[in-house]
């Protein structure tokens, strides 16, 4: 994990010096992850490719402004989140959820997840969750981002990110129960 982070940071530093092969490597490395993440946010596949393209162009244009290369993943996801939200807002599909609404939505406290091996099922169930839940869970499962990093990517407070992740886990657990897995 640490080695991955370090090689990523080196790639980012090379990209800051406008090294094209390094940028290619960065795209190869991160594109499948971004694609998966964006597919959870945006339904239309063509839109996903458009957002990906905009994201990479923005990355190339602004990578010199990135102060800490180790924070590249958070920064990258933040850019693609913003691009996706812009598109969803245009189509009136993005709705901000308040913590109260989230609390009404879930009332049970059981949040234990014991399903790490059942990725296929988790993948299917993610599609059935609300967009906000789907997003935090994807970030959590895919990159193992911390609460703080998730909050930075989505542009919400740490408290909101924490409760959103809590409720999302809970909803996934319920869905797994429904699928007779737990």
């Amino acid at each position: 994990m640490e080695q991955d982070k370090l090689s990523n940071a080196i790639l980012v530093l090379s990209c800051q010096k406008r090294d094209e092969p390094a940028f290619r490597e960065l795209v190869n490395r991160w594109e499948p992850r971004l694609y998966y993440y964006l597919r959870r946010l945006v339904e239309n596949e063509n839109d996903v490719w458009d957002i990906l393209q905009e994201t990479w162009l923005a990355v190339f244009q602004n990578i010199r402004k990135l102060q800490d290369p180790l924070k590249f993943p958070t920064w990258l996801y933040r850019i693609s989140h913003n691009k996706a939200v812009n598109l969803l807002r245009k189509e009136n599909k993005y709705v901000q959820i308040t913590e109260e609404q989230m609390a009404d939505y879930c009332q049970n406290n059981n949040t234990v997840l014991a399903v790490k091996e059942q990725t296929e099922l988790v993948h299917k169930l993610l599609g059935k969750l609300k967009l906000a839940h789907r997003e935090v869970l994807t970030l959590y499962f895919l990159e193992g981002f911390s609460i703080r990093e998730i909050a930075q990517i989505i542009g919400i407070s740490e408290g909101t990110a924490k409760s959103r992740l809590y409720y999302a886990k809970h909803k996934l657990h319920e869905a797994l129960k429904g699928a007779n897995y737990v």
């Binding site: 994990m1 094209e20 940028f23 795209v27 499948p32 499962f141």
Partner: protein, 203 residues
């Protein structure tokens, strides 16, 4: 298996559930890199054009000074040629200074960054004001009849230019020195190897 490994495996399995179609991914990458190449080239062409235009403008001014019969105009065109070249050099030196400052800035705290940015903004504004003032003096000196006064004014405008010609190289040098000191500090703080630790414990 450690927790981080199982998390990694889980993420990889999750990714495998919805991988990007290879043909579309390939096409998408081709488009991105084509666009990026175009952007890089556009930047180079714009930069190159600016250099070329400024160089040609300075040379044109120099030629004007050589071809005129009017002594005042000859002096002023010569000064204009130098004026363009020197400010172009200042702009170039400022670029190097900022590049170095960006590297140093990465290692400094928020207050220091703020201080540096304010200082840089102030110097840039002063430089723009000085450039405008010097250009206006040079323009006015074209309409003088006394060539001694024209020569005096043309020489006078370079005093301010010299300040910036010193400021940016010395600024860059001091930043480089700071960077070197940071490096030395880092070198001194490198933790001792296990062998060295054992030796020191043995004593």
């Amino acid at each position: 298996m450690s927790e981080s490994n199982s998390k990694k495996e889980f993420a990889e399995n999750l990714l495998a559930q919805d991988p990007p179609p290879a043909d579309k991914q390939q096409r998408h990458k081709e488009i991105i890199f084509k666009k990026l190449k175009l952007r890089i080239w556009r930047g180079k062409i714009i930069g190159g054009t600016i250099y070329l235009v400024l160089g040609l403008a300075a040379f044109w001014a120099f030629q004007q000074g050589q071809n005129t019969d009017n002594i005042v105009h000859s002096i002023c065109w010569g000064a204009a040629s130098l004026h363009i070249l020197l400010w172009f050099l200042i702009y170039f030196l400022r670029g190097i200074y900022r590049l170095t400052a960006e590297i140093v800035e990465k290692n400094s705290g928020k207050d220091e960054k703020h201080k540096w940015k304010n200082q840089d903004r102030f110097i840039t504004i002063v430089a723009i004001l000085v450039f405008t003032y010097a250009s206006s003096i040079l323009y006015r000196s074209f309409f003088l009849n006394d060539y001694l006064k024209a020569a005096h004014l043309s020489g006078y405008i370079f005093w301010a230019t010299v300040f910036f010609l010193f400021w940016y190289p010395f600024g860059t040098a001091s930043l480089l020195a700071k960077l070197w000191l940071e490096y030395k500090k880092m070198e001194l703080n490198i933790p001792k190897t296990e062998e060295q630790n054992l030796k020191s414990q043995g004593r």
